[in-house]
C-alpha cells in the first residue's frame, strides 16, 4: 500500500512537472483544445437558437376546430376538457362567435360594411395548439371523431415545411459539429504526437532502464488529463462569457425578429459535461494513443 501511494504520488508529480518542463507544448495543447471547443460551442449555441426559433414558429401553427352551430355557447365551452384529453394537444383556446366576428371585422378598415352581419353566421370555435407538428394529421383525425365539431382546419403544408426545415437545420448542425470534431481531433492528436515525439528519447531511456509501460504511461495520462480539463473549463467559461455578451447586446433590440434563448442550466450543464467529456477523451485518450508507438520496444 505504501509503495502504491508512493507510485501514485510519483505519477502525479511527474505529470504536473512535465507540464511545466514542456511549457510551450502544454500551452499550445491547451490553446488548441480551447479554440476547438469555443468554435464547437458557438456552433452548438447557434444551432440551439435556430431550433428554438423554428420551434416558436411551429407553436404558432394552430388547428381551428369549428363547433356545430346548433350548440349553445355553454355547450360549446363544455367541449374543452374532451379536447384537452386528446394526445399531442398542448393548449386549447375557446373563441366565441362574437369574438370571431370582431376578429374578422378587425381585419378590414371599412368596418361599416359589416354592420348588418348576423353573428350567427360565425361558429364558435377552438384554437388548438399541438406539441409535435409532424403528428398534426393524427391529431386532426382524432378531433374528427368528436361529433360536436363541424369542421377541422389544419394547415398541413406549413406545418410540414417548418418541420422539414427544422430537420434540415438539425442535420446540418450534426454534420458540421461532426466535421469540426474530426478536424480538431486530428489537430489535437498531432499536437500530442508532436509533444510525445519531443520526448521520445526520454521515453526510450525509460524503456532502457526497465520502466514498465504503465510506469511510463501514467504521468503522460495525468498530464493529458490536466491539460484537457484546463482547456475544457477555460473554453466553457469563454463560451459562457461570449454568449452572455451576445445576450446583453440582443436585449437592446427588444421586440425584434427573435430573441436569443437564455444560457439556463438545462443548456449550460449538458454543454459543460460535453466539454469536460471531450477534454477528458482528448487529453487522456490522445496521450495514451500517441504514446503507444514509443512503447513497442
Amino acid at each position: 500500500m505504501r509503495v502504491n501511494r508512493n507510485r501514485a504520488f510519483y505519477y502525479i508529480r511527474e505529470g504536473i512537472s512535465s507540464i511545466f518542463a514542456h511549457s510551450l507544448m502544454s500551452f499550445a495543447s491547451i490553446c488548441i483544445i480551447i479554440a476547438f471547443l469555443v468554435i464547437m460551442g458557438s456552433f452548438i449555441m447557434l444551432a440551439l437558437n435556430i431550433n428554438a426559433l423554428i420551434g416558436e414558429l411551429v407553436s404558432e401553427n394552430i388547428i381551428l376546430a369549428y363547433v356545430h352551430e346548433n350548440l349553445s355557447e355553454s355547450d360549446a365551452r363544455a367541449l374543452e376538457p374532451r379536447l384537452r384529453s386528446i394526445p399531442n394537444i398542448s393548449n386549447v383556446t375557446f373563441i366565441s362567435r362574437e369574438e370571431a366576428l370582431q376578429s374578422f371585422i378587425g381585419r378590414y378598415s371599412y368596418t361599416d360594411r359589416f354592420d348588418d352581419i348576423d353573428v350567427t353566421v360565425f361558429r364558435h370555435r377552438y384554437a388548438i395548439y399541438v406539441d409535435d407538428v409532424s403528428q398534426i394529421a393524427q391529431t386532426q383525425a382524432a378531433l374528427q371523431h368528436i361529433r360536436e365539431l363541424a369542421r377541422i382546419n389544419a394547415n398541413h403544408s406549413l406545418a410540414q415545411t417548418l418541420v422539414s426545415f427544422r430537420t434540415v437545420v438539425s442535420w446540418i448542425s450534426v454534420i458540421v459539429i461532426a466535421v469540426l470534431l474530426v478536424i480538431s481531433l486530428f489537430i489535437i492528436q498531432n499536437t500530442i504526437k508532436l509533444a510525445t515525439y519531443e520526448r521520445r528519447e526520454e521515453i526510450a531511456l525509460m524503456k532502457m532502464v526497465g520502466a514498465t509501460n504503465a510506469f511510463i504511461r501514467w504521468p503522460f495520462i495525468i498530464e493529458g488529463f490536466i491539460l484537457g480539463m484546463t482547456g475544457s473549463i477555460l473554453a466553457f467559461l469563454a463560451i459562457r462569457g461570449l454568449y452572455e455578451l451576445a445576450l446583453s447586446n440582443m436585449m437592446q433590440f427588444e421586440g425584434g425578429f427573435f430573441t436569443l434563448i437564455s444560457f439556463s442550466t438545462n443548456i449550460s450543464i449538458p454543454l459543460f459535461l460535453l466539454f469536460i467529456g471531450i477534454g477528458f477523451a482528448v487529453g487522456v485518450g490522445g496521450s495514451g494513443i500517441a504514446l503507444n508507438r514509443y512503447l513497442k520496444v
Binding site: L205, M206, K207, V209, G210, A211
Partner: protein
C-alpha cells in the same frame, strides 16, 4: 551471463548484419567488442538489450532466452542490464542527481532507497560535488560519468557500454574505461563496444573482434587488425 550461439540477423531491408555469431561472456568478466562500422556491433547490442530479435540462433542474457521472453517481462530483464551510450543520453532539464535518481524512480524504487543509493554511485564516479548541476554545465567526460552512474544505480549484473568514449578526448576516454574497470572489479560484468584501438591496447583484457557479421578473433590482449584483411 551472456551467451550467443550461432546467431543470424537479417533486417527487413535484406541487410545480413550477423552471419553465425557465437560467444560467451561469464559473470564477472570484462571484455571489449571491437570492429569497424557496419561490422555488426550495434546489432549485437540491440539483441542483448532486447530491442530486436535474432533471425536464427540463441541469445541468452542473464539467464533469459531473448527470443522467448514475454513483452511484459522485458522491463524486469532490462533492470539487470545497465547501458551506456556514446551520446550520454542525459535528460537536459534534470539535475545530475535527478538524472541518476530517474533510473531508480522509473522502476518504482522508494524515496528512501533513492536517497541512500544515488549519493553512493555519484561518489563512485567522482561527481558527488556536481549533484545539483545540469548536464549542459558539465564537460563531456563528466556527462559520461553521470551516464555510468545511471547505468550502475540499479545494481545491474551486466553493463553494456556502446562506444562510451566516442565523444571524448583520449584522457577522458581512459578515465571512463578505468571507471568501468573499477566497476567490473566490484563484481559487475562489463562489455565495452568500441573501435578505438589505442584505448583497447592499454588494457590487458579479452577482445572479441567482429567483422562482416562474423567473429574474426576472440582472445586475451589482442586487437584484431581487420584493416589489413
Amino acid at each position: 551471463m551472456v551467451r550467443m550461439v550461432d546467431v543470424f540477423k537479417e533486417y527487413a531491408n535484406g541487410v545480413k548484419a550477423l552471419k553465425g555469431v557465437s560467444f560467451e561472456l561469464n559473470a564477472g568478466e570484462f571484455a571489449f567488442l571491437v570492429g569497424p562500422s557496419g561490422s555488426g556491433k550495434s546489432t549485437i547490442i540491440s539483441l542483448l538489450v532486447g530491442e530486436i530479435a535474432p533471425t536464427d540462433g540463441l541469445v541468452i542474457v542473464n539467464g533469459q532466452d531473448m527470443d522467448n521472453i514475454k513483452m511484459r517481462k522485458m522491463p524486469y530483464l532490462r533492470r539487470t542490464i545497465g547501458t551506456i551510450f556514446q551520446d550520454f543520453r542525459l535528460i537536459e532539464y534534470k539535475s545530475v542527481y535527478e538524472n541518476v535518481a530517474f533510473a531508480m524512480r522509473v522502476i518504482g524504487a522508494s524515496s528512501k532507497d533513492i536517497r541512500q543509493r544515488v549519493p553512493y554511485v555519484l561518489e563512485l564516479v567522482g561527481l558527488e560535488y556536481k549533484a545539483k548541476s545540469r548536464p549542459d554545465e558539465l564537460s563531456g567526460g563528466e556527462q559520461q560519468r553521470v551516464a555510468v552512474a545511471r547505468a550502475l544505480v540499479n545494481n545491474p549484473k551486466l553493463i553494456i557500454a556502446d562506444e562510451p568514449t566516442g565523444n571524448l578526448d583520449p584522457a577522458r576516454s581512459l578515465e571512463i574505461l578505468l571507471l568501468l574497470k573499477k566497476i567490473n572489479e566490484l563484481g559487475t560484468t562489463v562489455l565495452v563496444v568500441t573501435h578505438e584501438k589505442p584505448l583497447v591496447d592499454q588494457f590487458s583484457q579479452r577482445v572479441i573482434a567482429i567483422d562482416g557479421g562474423r567473429i574474426v578473433s576472440d582472445a586475451m590482449d589482442r586487437y584484431y587488425n581487420y584493416e589489413s584483411q
